[in-house]
């Protein structure tokens, strides 16, 4: 499908830490919804395609979708990579990771994507595309049915993934930048353009006004299947149940409680709630970068206008390759295979682990990397802890992850309790400041 095959594939990345939810995705699995198979694919399709263009791949090649907290990867061969979508904090060989710009990586180097800062989902494309089997016409991971991508599951520590042959010499693929206009895709609140229907007549006139006139907040109940929203209740005309029918990408279904749900890449193919509107596909990329707690609103456009918008963006995407800015070549980083201050984590089972957000050594604060709920406080104040030891078990986006000690020392104070909600960069504990 993407012009790749097993021939020419080589081992490319070893996963040292998987991150919160890192999956292999391409543009999705089409033609199988009639068998109940979700479409899957990168939630921010525009960012996925841009990342592929940067490294010289076809736009539908398989790449990694990184969610909120990123992976730590060792490269096993020389290649060119690019990261798009959410901006990241992290390093490659001791240097900050370039964003929206392709760069060369040497065998043995470690790419540490600690966290997505602006936005939620980052796309990491590798020259030649990730080489996983094509199942039902796609390399995308189908998490709900456990097939596709890398063994039908998110990446785990120790996984080794291959890549296909690059389309050009690596030197020609590195140092290419996406024009400015293709970068700033994140903000809150965002205004999403929708086409009303297919079941807009299942709602009262007032219900429609509420839907189009209100601001909604993304609830913690948000994942690749869909985002449940909090906000004013949308009134149904009669029953909130319909006979199950097709659920399109971006469908905004409203169950009995009147709170809308935007359906995304991993949605079920059919569903029994009426859909008041459908978010246009180009704007799904905006949704993809929103986190729980962020705000959005809806604006209705006609079908013809929606198609005009989609055609314009598609034409620009198809021409993106010609628009790439060739920047000064970003050569080899100084250190090979070493990240100063990096924490090595040996993890085989259990939740994803992340170091707490980077912090000047003098302060000793242990912070939450993203808005989350405290599931468990794993260490009492006053205890000695080792670098990399889990301190807090948090939950966000329906996933659990651990925040680990940034270094060895005494955990002086714990500021949160189980059940607390914590914001991004909120201080959860404090470690002694002098080693």
């Amino acid at each position: 499908m993407n012009g790749l095959d097993q021939i020419g594939s080589r081992e490319m990345i070893e996963v040292l830490r998987p991150g919160l939810l890192t999956t292999v995705q391409d543009r999705g699995r089409f033609g199988y919804q009639k068998f109940g198979v979700p479409v899957s694919g990168g939630v921010d399709e525009i960012a996925l395609r841009a990342a592929n263009v940067l490294v010289g791949n076809t736009q539908g090649a398989a790449a990694l979708e990184v969610t909120a907290l990123g992976p730590r990867l060792r490269f096993l061969a020389e290649t060119v990579v690019a990261l798009t979508g959410a901006e990241v904090e992290g390093d490659i060989g001791g240097r900050a990771i370039p964003w929206c710009k392709s760069f060369q990586v040497r065998a043995g180097q470690i790419l540490d994507v600690r966290a997505c800062t602006r936005g939620l989902r980052t796309y990491l494309a590798i020259a030649g595309g990730l080489d996983v089997p094509v199942l039902l016409g796609s390399r995308s991971t189908c998490l709900v049915a456990n097939f596709g991508g890398f063994h039908g599951r998110p990446l785990a520590t120790g996984d080794v993934l291959g890549a296909g042959p690059p389309s050009a010499p690596l030197g020609d693929l590195a140092g290419r930048e996406v024009p400015e206009a293709w970068r700033a895709r994140h903000g809150s609140p965002v205004l999403l353009r929708v086409v009303l229907g297919p079941q807009v007549d299942a709602f009262t006139e007032e219900g429609r006004r509420t839907f189009l006139g209100s601001t909604y907040q993304i609830s913690p109940n948000a994942d690749r299947m869909g985002y449940r929203l909090d906000g004013p209740v949308i009134a149904h005309q009669g029953s909130a149940d319909i006979l199950s029918d097709w659920v399109p990408l971006g469908g905004v279904q409203v169950p009995g409680d009147g709170k809308p749900i935007i359906l995304l890449a991993d949605r079920q193919t059919t569903g029994g709630y009426p859909k008041i509107a459908t978010v246009i596909k180009p704007d799904i990329s905006l949704v993809a970068q929103l986190r729980p707690g962020e705000m959005l609103a809806f604006r209705a456009v006609g079908v013809a206008e929606a198609q005009e918008i989609a055609r314009k963006i598609e034409a620009e995407l198809l021409g993106l390759r010609a628009q790439l800015v060739c920047a000064e070549s970003w050569g080899y980083a100084a250190g090979v295979g070493e990240v100063p201050g990096g924490v090595s984590l040996d993890q085989t089972e259990g939740p994803a682990q992340v170091p707490s957000t980077a912090e000047p050594a003098a302060h000793g604060a242990v912070r939450s990397p993203m808005p989350a709920k405290v599931v468990k406080v794993l260490v009492e104040a006053g205890r000695m802890v080792a670098a990399g030891q889990p301190l807090f078990l948090l939950q966000a986006m329906k996933m659990e992850f651990e925040v680990v000690a940034p270094r060895t020392g005494c955990l002086l104070a714990v500021h949160v309790r189980e059940g607390d909600a914590v914001g991004v960069d909120e201080v959860m504990g404090r470690m002694e400041t002098t080693p």
């Binding site: 009639k34 006979l243 399109p248 059919t270 929606a306």
Partner: protein
């Protein structure tokens, strides 16, 4: 109620034939789905047949909404039901009761029947596949005898074993994968209800007739063990 053509975003069209569960309406949906696939209209990406409507995804680079609707109407108008492929008759070998069907006893008690009578009634009925949805390979079957209608579990099980044959309210079906589920489990099949390695990944298609065929535990175990990987067999199809 006439056929309605509803927009679903800038690349979706829903053709709604009615709003009730009926084999006549469902047959119209199936007919249009097959005819559209055969017509190979440029820009038409895929069709998703459901109980009473057909979801159509198309490429707005190639077709406007009005053009998509016109093409679909043309194919619908030219449709000759006699040319459509005949639905299959699919048999799903099922071991009833015991550890494979922990709720068979409850279903029997609720119906005021013996377990043997429940098995006889459930397996002698020929069911109609209305659609595949909810999860990969899950077939919505119609035709469960009223006597066997059974309320769902008060709270769903965390894990329903793959291949479980179950009853939920007025519906019956089989779970293609291990998932949470609230239906009453009465048996289990070794048939792979979803296999992503096959180009046609599900043994049942919309419009097919389905019958559950009782087998013994020995037959179930033998069939499960000869298959590569437990519980991935083939459904028996017959004309």
């Amino acid at each position: 109620m006439g056929v309605r053509y509803l927009p679903a975003g800038e690349r979706g069209l829903v053709v709604e034939f009615g709003d009730a569960v009926s084999i006549e309406v469902n047959t119209q949906v199936r007919g249009l789905a097959l005819a559209l696939e055969a017509a190979r209209i440029p820009g038409l990406i895929e069709v998703v047949p459901t109980y009473r409507s057909l979801g159509i995804e198309y490429d707005p680079q190639i077709l406007s909404f009005a053009e998509a609707e016109r093409k679909v109407r043309e194919v619908g108008a030219a449709l000759d039901p006699g040319t459509l492929p005949t639905p299959k008759r699919v048999e799903i070998p099922t071991v009833y009761g015991g550890v494979y069907g922990p709720d068979l006893h409850f279903v029997a008690e609720h119906a005021g029947l013996s377990e043997a009578e429940v098995i006889r009634l459930h397996s002698q009925t020929v069911y109609h596949v209305y659609m595949i949805g909810f999860s990969a390979g899950f077939a919505y079957l119609g035709g469960l005898p009223e006597r066997l209608h059974t309320p769902r579990l008060p709270s769903p099980r965390i894990k329903v074993p793959k291949g479980s044959v179950a009853i939920g309210g007025s519906q019956t079906g089989a779970y293609p994968a291990e998932t949470p589920g609230g239906w009453r489990i009465i048996g289990r099949t070794f048939v792979a209800l979803f296999d992503p390695l096959q180009e046609i990944p599900t043994p049942m298609q919309p419009g097919d007739s389905v019958q559950f065929v009782p087998i013994t535990e020995q037959e179930y175990l033998r069939a499960s063990s000869v298959q590569p990987g437990a519980e991935t067999g083939s459904a028996r199809a017959r004309e």
